[in-house]
Assembly symmetry: C2
Homo-oligomer: 555 residues x 2
């Protein structure tokens, strides 16, 4: 009897929303031939990852088994699905398959890191299929919030797996293919082996709304605006950008795209034929010659990012353009949890300029790109899978989605990052656990999340820093007095004397009385100096800073 099996192993994306990376394998245990679906990033924040540039999944499990990897498949061009591809491609070295728009974006990333662009191969939509070892993979169009999003139809010796990718069930997505229930029903036939399914919106209980619903609302809003109109959304939401541009055009406004990502995405969409009739645009320089109430700016920065066009316009001028009293600023976007402060900062800065801000609180100017609970149920019913495996969600989403599937009669299990499932049978079976985690891009270096580097930074931010320098002569006698420097600490404390003087005085007192044995021992001396510095600081300013002690011995 064959002991070959079909495995599923999320390395990222199952237990968080971000850094998606899902491995499928087929073969005998430890000998499975593998494919990787998506290779994305997640974004750092000051709370937990100060100074970090990007966060990747820890890909060591896969890079150590790169000889068993057949190919990478990218479902769509969002950063959390394609952003880490070029970072790891050198260690994977296999062909990357994606549809034209996604491939266009992926190639730009590969080029930036000096990888061969032809490693990225353009796949056509279903019914075309790509062979990769024991797998045959097809890109099944599905609607989302970026062009050419696809589910993957993964045929294996143990049956067909449908990996949903990020999706919604939109009959009129404005740009790209509508969700086609007949096609999906046909592809899923009498039922598939497994549906591995997006969980993002499992807590939204109403059916999802179509992208086409926001157009008329935006058009109404823009048609009555009097000053300059500025709107922001995710640049990758090409349909929305088009809707916004058309609303501007109908109101007789000239369109200006601001922000690198905005121009890059529209360019990619035009290059790949996804976007055929985008209104003509002018450069910011040309725009300054046009009456400002005839302009509509489409800008990056829907999440309040400090360097994006929206934040720069909120602070002052950007590329010669400036917002003023009576202008309108539209957030055609939702704020991702965690980004509220940045967005609110931008709104208040715009308020200070007298700009009227319209956000999504009315629900009129934005719709989500993910399937809500009733839509998930509908897809479950179309797929009629033996098992439903929730992915793309935090623990709470995966758990709720798994419970939903189970309640409706589908075998299901909650598999977070590192959980290897055997999907070969009638129900999912845990086949093992793999060490996973996060890798940080930090400047130009990759570091592990548990290396302690970021922890040290957080400690310096929370506690401030004292450096202590002491020089000893050959007889272990202090030469001169100890020398301190402070960073991130108040200058004076309880005693009203300069903190640095109090520290140096206390450390000097200690040195004068220290036993020869202590003075002769670097570790003991450093430990004592650190203890005294912290204790003096606690006394003076009520906190214990980080301390760096440098003991120099002159010979």
């Amino acid at each position: 009897m064959s002991n070959e099996r079909l495995i599923y192993l999320p390395l990222g994306g199952a237990g968080e929303i971000g850094m998606n990376a899902y491995v499928y394998g087929y073969g005998a245990p430890e000998k499975e031939r593998l494919i990787l679906v998506d290779l994305g990033v997640t974004f750092p924040d000051m709370d937990g990852t100060p100074g970090v540039d990007l966060i990747f999944p820890d890909m060591s499990w896969l890079t150590e088994r790169a000889d068993r990897l057949e190919a990478v498949f990218i479902t769509h061009a969002h950063e959390d699905h394609v952003g880490a591809l070029a970072q790891f491609w050198g260690e994977l070295g296999v062909p990357v398959h994606a549809r034209a728009f996604t491939a266009n974006i992926a190639r730009r990333k590969m080029e930036e890191r000096g990888h061969p662009e032809d490693a990225v191969r353009t796949a056509s939509a279903w019914p075309e299929q790509v062979k990769a070892g024991p797998f045959t993979v097809g890109f099944l169009p599905v609607s989302h919030s970026i062009p050419e999003s696809s589910a993957l139809v993964i045929d294996t010796p143990d049956g067909r797996v449908v990996h949903s990718g990020d999706f919604k069930l939109d009959p009129q997505p404005v740009v790209g293919e509508p969700f086609d229930p007949a096609l999906w029903t046909d592809v899923c036939g009498g039922g598939v082996q497994a549906l591995v399914c997006d969980s993002t919106n499992v807590f939204s209980t109403h059916p999802g709304r179509s992208e086409s619903e926001v157009g008329p609302e935006i058009e109404t809003l823009v048609s009555v605006a009097e000053g300059l109109v500025c709107a922001t959304t995710f640049a990758s939401n090409v349909a929305r950008v088009k809707t916004l541009a058309e609303a501007g055009q109908r109101a007789g406004r000239t369109i200006v795209l601001l922000g690198r990502a905005m121009r890059r995405m529209i360019e990619a969409a035009v290059e790949t034929g996804v976007l055929t009739d985008f209104p003509s645009t002018v450069s910011p320089e040309e725009a300054t010659a046009i009456p400002r109430d005839n302009l509509m700016l489409l800008v990056t920065g829907s999440q309040g990012e400090r360097r994006a066009a929206s934040a720069q316009l909120a602070r002052g001028k950007y590329r010669g353009l400036e917002l003023k009293e009576g202008d309108l600023f539209l957030f055609s976007s939702k704020t991702i949890p965690g980004n509220e402060r940045g967005v609110i900062r931008v709104i208040n800065q715009l308020s200070e300029k007298g700009v009227d801000v319209v956000d999504d609180s009315s629900g009129l100017y934005h719709v989500s790109g993910h399937a809500n609970r009733p839509d998930l149920e509908r897809l479950h019913d179309i797929a009629r899978a033996k098992m439903v495996i929730p992915m793309h969600g935090e623990h709470r989403h995966l758990r709720a989605h798994s419970n939903l599937a189970a309640e409706r009669g589908f075998a299901s299990t909650l598999a977070i990052n590192g959980t290897m499932l055997d999907l070969s049978g009638a129900t999912p079976r845990v086949a093992g656990f793999v060490e996973t985690g996060r890798t940080y891009l930090d400047g130009s270096v990759r570091i592990g999340a548990l290396d302690g580097v970021v922890r040290e930074r957080i400690r310096m931010a929370l506690n401030g820093l004292i450096t202590v320098s002491v020089i000893l002569d050959e007889e272990h006698e202090p030469m001169g007095e100890p020398w301190c420097e402070l960073k991130g600490l108040p200058e004076t404390g309880r005693s009203r004397a300069a903190l640095i003087d109090v520290l140096e005085e206390d450390l000097d007192q200690f040195l004068r009385r220290a036993r020869p044995k202590t003075l002769a021992n670097d570790d003991a001396l450093e430990e004592e100096l650190r203890r005294i510095a912290r204790s003096t600081a606690q006394d003076e300013i009520g906190r214990k800073p980080e301390v760096i002690v440098t003991v120099s011995r002159v010979s």
Copy 2:
């Protein structure tokens, strides 16, 4: 003709939600006798204020004029209204007036800082009034989300000012006085001089809901729960805590209060007679002897605060109690913008334990304590003030509120912190601008927001740190090699050699070749060493760290 005038000067709370501090004055310019309304804090965050303990308004303008200050009035016991009182009372030294519950909380804070508790005087509700220089002030009960919230009726020689405090128009607030439109109409008579008014919920377009609406929903939820039930809300929302406790009691559950603030607030409410029939509670120790499905825990930490009871229960045991598969956790609260990450962390940790979490996304289990737009309009109409001055809001709230008032025929202006208004005439007139800002409580020390201390911490967190130590002899010759320490930086970079070795090597190279003039000049030498350290780091790890250089000269 008299040149006496009535002035209003927000020192905090107008341009942010938090750290409320509003000055009123009456008299000749620069000689006005003053009162202060509220003296609150705002809370720090890792993004902008790492390591800071609390944020206060910069009170220098008032402390420099403390001889002109008559009294402080506290509208209610929320931290953003009373939290800084004890911090500044020593510099103000005047009587503090508040209603019983608020006074109870204020006295606890005064006691903690060694101030005389009798500086806080208990005021009765309207029609009692307190005389303070040219002002006569009454506490007019109004509903909010804490007991005994009051508007202040401030009678001045130039007419009556109504300072709304934080409020909602709740006919059934569960604990405390309902909003009494007849009383308010009576107090406002034919129209007051100025209404200074809460702006928090100006963007909520539906009428506010009553506190009494959540009780039945919570009761239904708790009645069908099977495991242990745990609920969190703001501890100061005594009405909600009571509603939760009663729902537990009706479901046959024994109530346990967890978290210092929760016990403290209920204690204050009972001591002051605000709360008369709170269900009996047991201690966590006693609770461990009760079957867990007969328990209901009421816990602190509705905002996901790391040290609060909710977060500790989400991570593991707390005071012998533990949540398990099938338990219910209710957030009877909204997440304040900026706290989303902490709350989501708690929810996911609870999900990992198999706990079912119910949050406020349904709108059933929480109502706001602030007046929505239609309620603001109603109060405007009751007050019939010559002018409406929006307070308690970010810039966007103040602006929208001011526009709302103006559209409805009331004179209004947008006065942010530091804007002194003359309220004596028919319309508000800007009488000047005062320097305001923020003061940080940092450990035990007060520092200015612009002192640069926090900026240094943020830089260390974003960039990491290198220390460089160099020792020179009397002839300015380097003794030994330079010595580096790293904090918050990767160990190796581009060259794969230890970063510290590469740094020390490059710095040593420089020292060997440095001109005597440079070696003899501390500033020049430090600057060069810093530049080289940063440049080497940029080359190796792609970032420029903060650098502390210590040059020691041995004689």
